[in-house]
C-alpha cells in the first residue's frame, strides 16, 4: 500500500482548465466511488477554485497514473492528454509533504490565506462520509490539520496573509478612491464572497446587496451584513446599482454577459464598475473588460497582483517549510513503524498461543506444583518464545528504521513476508 496524489493547481494550469475540471460538491461521492472502483483503497478529492486534486492509497501493482483516470471519471469532455501536461503526481513522502503544504496554505494562490484548511476539512468530511478514508489517509490528514495549526501559531503566516478579498479591496481603492457610499453586489453567497464583503465593509463600503440561487443562504449573509437580498431572477435589473460586483456563483457558463454589463453601465451613466470574478468556472464573460468603465478581475489576476508584495511572506513561508520538513519526517517514521507493527504483534500473539497450547498439553503430567514452581514454569516458557521472537522482531524494527533513515520506501513483501511465511502468520 502506498500513498499517491495527483492533481492540477493554479501553478500548473490556467483558470480555463481548472474551471473545467472543478467538481461540484454533489458530484464528489460518485467520483470517490469511481476512484475506489479503479483500485484506490482510500481516496480524497479536494476541489477548490485553485486546485483539483485526488489523494489515494494504492496497492503496489496499481500505477499512480490511475489517479488521473479517477479525476476524469465521468467527464467525457476532457481528454487525459489535455490534462497530462498540467498534472503533478506525488507518492509517499512527497504526497504527504504536498498535503501538509496545501493544508497550511503554503501552496495557496495567496500564501497564508486561511480558507484552504476549511476546504480540506470539508473534502475530508465528504470522503469520510463515503467511507473512503482508511488508516493511512486518516493519519495523514489529521496530522495535516495539526501541522496547519502549528504553522499558523508558530509563524506569522496568518498575520501577513493577504487574501484574494484583500487584493480586491486594494483594487477597488485604485478605482474609486474612498469606498464611502459605494454599493457592493454579491452574486453567489459563498465563503469567499463573504470574506470579500467583510473586507469591503471594513474599508467603508456603504451597502451590500446579495443575491443567491438559494434565497435562504442569501438571507443568512444579508443578516450578517445588514444587507439587502435581491431575488435571483431579478438581479440583472439591479446590476446598475452596483459599484462593485463580487461574483462567486456555482452557475456553469457566463452568468454575466457583455450585454448585461453594458446595459448596467449605461444605467449608471458611465460611472465605473469594478467586477471581481472569484468563481471557477468563471461567471463573467472576459470580454466585459473591453467595455469602457468596466474593470474585470478574475482570480488569476488577483493572484498576480498580490504576488508582487509577497516578499515578506516568502520569508515567513521558509520558516513554515522547515516545520513541514520536520513533520513529514515524523509522520513517515510513524507510518513505517506502523507498517511492521502488525507483523510484530501477530508474531508475538502466534508464539504466545503456541506456548499456551504446549503448556496446557504437558502441564497435567507434572502433577501438583507450588505457586513458585508455577511461576518458574511460566517464566521459562515465556523466556524461550521471547528469545525465539527477539531475532526477527529486532530485524523488522531495524529494517523499518533503515528505510526511514535512507528515505526509501520499506520493501514490503520481502523481509516482512519471509517472517510471516516462516511463522505461518495469518493475515489479520
Amino acid at each position: 500500500m502506498r500513498l499517491a496524489l495527483a492533481g492540477i493547481n493554479h501553478h500548473t494550469a490556467p483558470v480555463q482548465l481548472r474551471e473545467k475540471l472543478a467538481f461540484r460538491v454533489e458530484d464528489l461521492p460518485a467520483a470517490l466511488l469511481q476512484a475506489q472502483a479503479r483500485g484506490a483503497k482510500e481516496a480524497l478529492i479536494l476541489s477548490t477554485c485553485n486546485r483539483v486534486e485526488i489523494a489515494a492509497t494504492l496497492n503496489e501493482n496499481i500505477p499512480a497514473e490511475t489517479l488521473l483516470e479517477g479525476l476524469l471519471a465521468g467527464r467525457d469532455d476532457i481528454s487525459p492528454d489535455l490534462l497530462r501536461p498540467h498534472l503533478y503526481l506525488y507518492e509517499e513522502a512527497a504526497a504527504i509533504r504536498h498535503l501538509f503544504r496545501v493544508a497550511s496554505s503554503l501552496d495557496s494562490m495567496i500564501v497564508g490565506e486561511p480558507q484552504i484548511l476549511g476546504q480540506l476539512k470539508q473534502a475530508y468530511a465528504v470522503a469520510r462520509d463515503e467511507g473512503a478514508i482508511g488508516t493511512i489517509l486518516e493519519a495523514v490528514l489529521s496530522r495535516a490539520f495539526s501541522v496547519a495549526k502549528r504553522i499558523r501559531s508558530e509563524t506569522e503566516i496568518g498575520q501577513s496573509a493577504v487574501s484574494v478579498s484583500y487584493a480586491a479591496v486594494e483594487l477597488a481603492r485604485e478605482i474609486f478612491g474612498s469606498l464611502n457610499k459605494k454599493r457592493v453586489l454579491i452574486v453567489g453567497a459563498g465563503k469567499m464572497s463573504e470574506a470579500t464583503a467583510r473586507h469591503l465593509l471594513r474599508a467603508g463600503a456603504a451597502e451590500i446587496l446579495i443575491t443567491n440561487r438559494t434565497q435562504q443562504r442569501a438571507e443568512e449573509l444579508a443578516g450578517l451584513f445588514h444587507g439587502e437580498v435581491i431575488p435571483y431572477e431579478l438581479f440583472p435589473q439591479r446590476l446598475g446599482d452596483a459599484d462593485i460586483l463580487i461574483s462567486s456563483s456555482a452557475a456553469p457558463g457566463y452568468l454575466l454577459t457583455r450585454d448585461l454589463i453594458r446595459t448596467a453601465i449605461e444605467a449608471r451613466r458611465n460611472q465605473p464598475m469594478f467586477l471581481v470574478d472569484i468563481a471557477v468556472p468563471r461567471n463573467i464573460d472576459p470580454a466585459v473588460n473591453d467595455l469602457e468603465h468596466a474593470f474585470l478581475y478574475d482570480i488569476d489576476d488577483l493572484q498576480r497582483l498580490s504576488e508582487r508584495n509577497l516578499q515578506t511572506r516568502r520569508e515567513i513561508a521558509e520558516q513554515a517549510e522547515a516545520i513541514v520538513d520536520e513533520e513529514v519526517a515524523r509522520l513517515e517514521a510513524r507510518l513505517r513503524v506502523r507498517d511492521v507493527a502488525p507483523t510484530i504483534v501477530s508474531l508475538q500473539e502466534e508464539l504466545e498461543a503456541l506456548r499456551k497450547d504446549v503448556l496446557s498439553r504437558y502441564r497435567p503430567r507434572l502433577g501438583s506444583l507450588t505457586a513458585d514452581q508455577e511461576e518458574v514454569l511460566d517464566a521459562l516458557t515465556r523466556g524461550i518464545i521471547n528469545k525465539v521472537a527477539h531475532g526477527p522482531i529486532s530485524e523488522l524494527r531495524r529494517q523499518a528504521a533503515d528505510a526511514q533513515r535512507n528515505a526509501v520506501p520499506l520493501q514490503e513483501g520481502e523481509f516482512v513476508s519471509v517472517v510471516r511465511r516462516m511463522f505461518r502468520l495469518r493475515d489479520r
Binding site: L171, E174, F176, G177, H293, R304, L305, R308, N309
Partner: protein, 269 residues
C-alpha cells in the same frame, strides 16, 4: 433702434449663460425657471429687433455675417423654446443658452460704438480679459494633465498591470472629479474671457474684428469646449473619452494662443 433691442436681447440671454455656468457646479440649482423667463423675454426682444431691422432696410436681415449670426441665434432660441414647451427637456439649455448668447452678441456688434469712455476703463477691461483667459487656460492645462494621468491609470487597470502598493497615480474616480472640476472652472473663465474679448475687439477694431483669424480660432475653441461640457453633462460622457477631449481642447487652445502671437502676425503681413 433695432441694435438697442438686440443688445437688450443679448443682455437677457446673458442670464441664460449664467444659469448654464452655475448648473455645471450645482446640478440642483433653481435658477432654471428665472433663466428661462429671461431667455424667452430675450427672444421677444430679439424678434422685435429683427422686425425693426427688416422695416428699416426693407429686406431680410441676412446682409452680412452679423445679421446672419443674429438671425441664426434667434432661430435656435425659437427651436429651443418650442422643443422645451413640447418635451420639457431642459438639458439642452446648458449648451444652447451660451451659444445663443454668443451669436446674438456677435450680431449686436454690427454697428460700432464710440470708443472707450476712459483709458482706465480700457486697461481694466483688457486686464480682466487677459486674466480670465489665463485662469481658464491654467484650469484647462490642469484638466489635461489630470486627463493624461487618467488615461495612464485606466490603461494600467485595464491591463491589470497596476500594483496598488507601488502605484503613485491617484484613484480613477478622483482623477475624474479633478478633470470635471477643472474643466468646468476653465469653461467659466474662458467664457468670461471670450465675452470680454469679443467686446474688446469690437470696440477696438469696430466691425473688422470678426475677420481676424485669432478671434475665429478662439471662438472655435470655445464652441469645442462648449460641446465637450455638454456631452459630459447630458450624455454622461466621462472617463477615457472626456480625457481625450480635454487633451484635444488644450491642443486647440495652444493653436489659438499661437495665432495670437505667431500666426496672427503671419496672416496680417
Amino acid at each position: 433702434m433695432s441694435v438697442l433691442w438686440l443688445r437688450t436681447a443679448a443682455a437677457l440671454y446673458f442670464c441664460g449663460l449664467v444659469y448654464a455656468l452655475v448648473y455645471l457646479f450645482r446640478k440642483r440649482t433653481r435658477l432654471f425657471n428665472p433663466a428661462l423667463i429671461a431667455f424667452a423675454a430675450g427672444t421677444v426682444f430679439h424678434l422685435v429687433s429683427l422686425v425693426e431691422l427688416h422695416a428699416e432696410t426693407g429686406h431680410l436681415p441676412l446682409n452680412n455675417f452679423y445679421e446672419t449670426s443674429s438671425l441664426c441665434a434667434f432661430l435656435i432660441a425659437v427651436f429651443f423654446l418650442g422643443a422645451y414647451s413640447y418635451y420639457r427637456i431642459s438639458i439642452f439649455s446648458v449648451c444652447l443658452f451660451p451659444l445663443v448668447f454668443f451669436m446674438t452678441l456677435i450680431g449686436a456688434t454690427e454697428f460700432p460704438v464710440a470708443s472707450w469712455s476712459s483709458q482706465q476703463v480700457r486697461s481694466i477691461w483688457l486686464t480682466i480679459h487677459i486674466a480670465t483667459v489665463l485662469i481658464g487656460y491654467a484650469s484647462l492645462v490642469f484638466s489635461a494633465v489630470a486627463s493624461l494621468y487618467y488615461l495612464l491609470q485606466e490603461r494600467q487597470l485595464k491591463r491589470k498591470s497596476v500594483s496598488p502598493s507601488a502605484n503613485r497615480l491617484p484613484p480613477l474616480a478622483t482623477l475624474d472629479r479633478v478633470i470635471t472640476q477643472s474643466m468646468n472652472t476653465g469653461f467659466v473663465f474662458i467664457t468670461i474671457g471670450t465675452v470680454t474679448g469679443v467686446v474688446w475687439a469690437f470696440i477696438e477694431s469696430g466691425t473688422r474684428w470678426i475677420a481676424e483669424p485669432q478671434i475665429g480660432f478662439f471662438l472655435f475653441t470655445w464652441v469645442f469646449y462648449l460641446a465637450m461640457i455638454f456631452l459630459r453633462v447630458s450624455a454622461g460622457w466621462r472617463g477615457r473619452r472626456i480625457a481625450w477631449l480635454a487633451v484635444s481642447v488644450l491642443g486647440c487652445s495652444i493653436i489659438t494662443w499661437a495665432t495670437h502671437f505667431g500666426l496672427g502676425n503671419l496672416v496680417s503681413r
